[in-house]
Symmetry: C2
Subunit: 153 residues, 2 copies
């Protein structure tokens, strides 16, 4: 399979990646390193908060989502990174033992005149659990190399 270019992404396209099982061990290890708030480290502390029990750091959800889309399509794409993230929403807690998948929707594609070598593919990502509840959403503009510099299909 040849790697995909910007021209290969079409608005409205939907794809799913995963599943992946999220364990208590990785939730606690991530929190200990990057987000050591008690509700991400300890069941009782989590139960006393809005989370209602131990739950992953929202940043951990983002990182798991990133890994799933890297394996899912970004590493088979001429990715040039991203300038940032437009929005993240942590809608429901990600608990130990949850099996998640990621649904990707292409929102729009745009090729700036000022940068002929790449285009933007703005994507909406949803992390979804095994009961079809959406846990986290993220909107992000990916930068992807164009097949032909300056082409405007």
């Amino acid at each position: 399979m040849p790697k995909r270019h910007w021209e290969d992404f079409k608005p409205g396209t939907v794809a799913s990646y995963g599943p992946r099982l999220v364990t208590r061990e990785e939730i606690v290890a991530f929190a200990a390193e990057f987000d050591p708030q008690p509700m991400h480290l300890d069941e009782a502390a989590g139960a006393a908060t809005l989370l209602g029990g131990l739950a992953a750091s929202g940043w951990h959800s983002c990182c798991i989502l990133m890994r799933m889309i890297a394996d899912g399509f970004i590493n088979e794409t001429h990715s040039m990174g991203a300038p940032g993230v437009d929005e993240v929403r942590w809608l429901r807690p990600l608990r130990p033992g949850t099996q998640v998948r990621v649904r990707t929707t292409v929102l729009e594609t745009r090729a700036p005149n000022s940068r002929p070598e790449f285009g933007f593919v703005r994507c909406f990502f949803e992390m979804i659990d095994e009961h079809d509840s959406v846990l986290t959403t993220m909107t992000s503009p990916l930068m992807i190399r164009r097949r032909e510099a300056g082409a405007r299909p």
Copy 2:
């Protein structure tokens, strides 16, 4: 020191946390786990991209920033988490050996009538290197417990 409540945060307040040295080892380890794109794993691959050399995953920058603000003030605050992130901008690459600090600016405080137990503290975070260049910015609404439920100072 008593932990801080929502009422203790005032718009316009600026604080700095850090510094922290970011090593090549942690950049590569993070990327291998969460964002295995070649430009975050290998000098030559990074040099061939817009990053111009090995640089941390943008998600790694977010996670380091999170850890620095957790140590800096969130774990001394009655934090109730956050509903998400409003925007992240990865302005300049975070390279191995960079010493970073985080500057936090309180943008606004807001107490919803519907949830008397907490208020929002919307913050603007900047990760800054030792040459005063801003590498990453992030805007995020933190949820912080009110000292007196329903109080509207």
